[in-house]
Amino acid sequence: MGRRLLHAMNRWLAATIFAASLAPVTAGAAEPIKIGFGMALTGGLAGNGKAALVAMQIWAEEMNAKGGLLGRPVQLVYYDDQTNPAQVPGIYTKLLDVDKVDLVISGYGTNLQAPAMPVIMPRGMVFIGLFGLAVNDQFHYDRFFQIQPNGENAKISSIEGFFAAAMTAKPTPKTVAIVGADAEYPKVATEGAREIVQKLGLKIVYDRSYPPTTVDYTPIVRAIQATGPDVVYLASYPPDSAGMVRAVHEVGLKTTVFGGGLIGLQFAALKQQLGEMLNGIICYDLYAPSPTMNFPGITEFLTKYQPRAKAEGADQLGFYLPPFAYAAMQVLGQAVETTKGLDQGKIAQYIHATTFKTVVGDIKFATNGEWAKARIIFVQYRGIAGNDLDQFKKPGVEVIVAPDEFRTGDVEAPYTDIRH
């Protein structure tokens, strides 16, 4: 009896030790893969920041429903950067050194990506940028990737479509006014505009910037009007995009082509607010409902995104950043799964070498991390009546005038007549 009991205890003890040796492996496999980022959830860019977050949450939930990444659940760890660049280094230091996230992704906007680079680079992390203009031009970091389809020469390729479209207007433009906010993105954009304008041989008759806290934009528009430009190129953030468009209408700007890089016109809130005032403006965009942009998965994503965004107070249309935020997660997820690990060097190599099939179409990155081929579209708003949002879901309200690959119509000019 004693010997049997001893044998039983030995077997029990051996089984316990064996099970305990398995426990760390089991617990490790159940630990989530943490993806960390700062995001503009308050402040001037929060409208898009919140929309991006909804898209990323949809991706994470879909991944977890399928079993996660590498068999581990995905967990998003994020902090509000308040659209304040000064917050960004601290946020990413905390994410990497305290929260010990496995992967990082950027916040939204040029201003909020550049400050993260000095934190990311020494740690060798892969960093996908959510919409920034020429962020990597100064850093030359080989593990940086940009999800906005700016192309290799981001400063030029994100703008040249506007001038290509403008030059088709009749009469052919000869003079240009360039105006932008005193902020990172507009500074880079107006620099690019100057380079293109010089190559085209156009004369710059107005070239100034304004503080983002400007209240009344009518003096600026009057000053522009006084120079009689054929083309007015504006690079602006959402509040000043709205202010300038209103001022253009109040002053009655007379010009052949007006538009450029007005951030904000892509958002549901501003589309609804400005309504008919958008007619005639040629502005950059990334996606417009049209037969030429019917990518696999985009309809399913928007069907999932739109009701959820409405409930959470985010951009209700989701045509601008959300599909690309989702695509960024698709790229990161695929790279992790295919390389079967979290080795940042291998992930970066894989992303450089691969053409990804995403909800925004095929994505292939160039050596500097930008898209190998730019895909910024320029749309001209037409036939908008009232402030109803549903009209923007139909093709024809945003006519794609550049590039040729996605074009659905020709430029109508002059702007002075079209805007009515």
Partner: protein, 292 residues
Amino acid sequence: MGVSLDLLLGAVVAGVLLGGFYAAVSVGIAISFGMLDIVNIAHPAFIILGSYAAYIVNSSFGLDPVVTAIVMLPVFFVLGAAVYEIYYAVFERRGDEALRGLAFFFGLLFIVEVALILVFGVDYRFVEARYIGPTLHYGPIDLPLRMLVPFAVSILLMAGLQLYLSRTFTGRAIMAVSQDRLALQLMSASPAKIKRIAFGISIATAALAGAFLIIIQPVEPSIGRDYIGRVFAITVLGGLGSFPGMLAAAVLLGVVESITATFYGPSWSPAVAFGVLLLTLAFRPSGIMGRR
């Protein structure tokens, strides 16, 4: 750029209209800081609260934002009086108003902002009114109704407040509390009660200022921070305790910003405007119409 008379006239008119709006935004600080020595950093947050009040009523019932603000005046007055009661009980009565009182208002600023974000989200909000969009044209002068209506109502507000302060007992008591608190007590008027009424009026003006703001530009919860520097600068430039001075300062700042933006570049506007402030204070430290 050469000086065109039409352009100059347009810039001056735009600046005057802008100044009217600045006056409405600053009048609350002119009362709380200029007369009561209360550094209410949170005043722009109350203005944003006024904007959202106008937004809710406008989007739900289609009521005009200015009318909404007038209806909301008593609500904001009560709110202001309540805030002062807390401030007085916790800080002023104990002599802690200097630094701790300032911290109180900073905290209030962020609480209001975060509360608005939680309730409304971060999208820009706007209102609809018949006068948003149309412009009156008189030769070289453009008068966007979006700026003209707030200007006109602001002038009425200033006139009404000035009459109240100069012609009523309570109004004169408010002026007196800023000059000689002890003398006021000897007149059987409670300084705390008078300051409560005055602070209530100060916050009530935020309801109107908020309506003007959301008429002029789309609003989101954090936009109030852009106005903190401006409102205090205008109050100081005009002279503490002087309504006409504050109005003159607001118009001066508006005109300077507008002319600079038109002829020298908008980037220079804030620098030139604050340069004018510093120059004025260098030669007249009490402000344009402040008491020496």
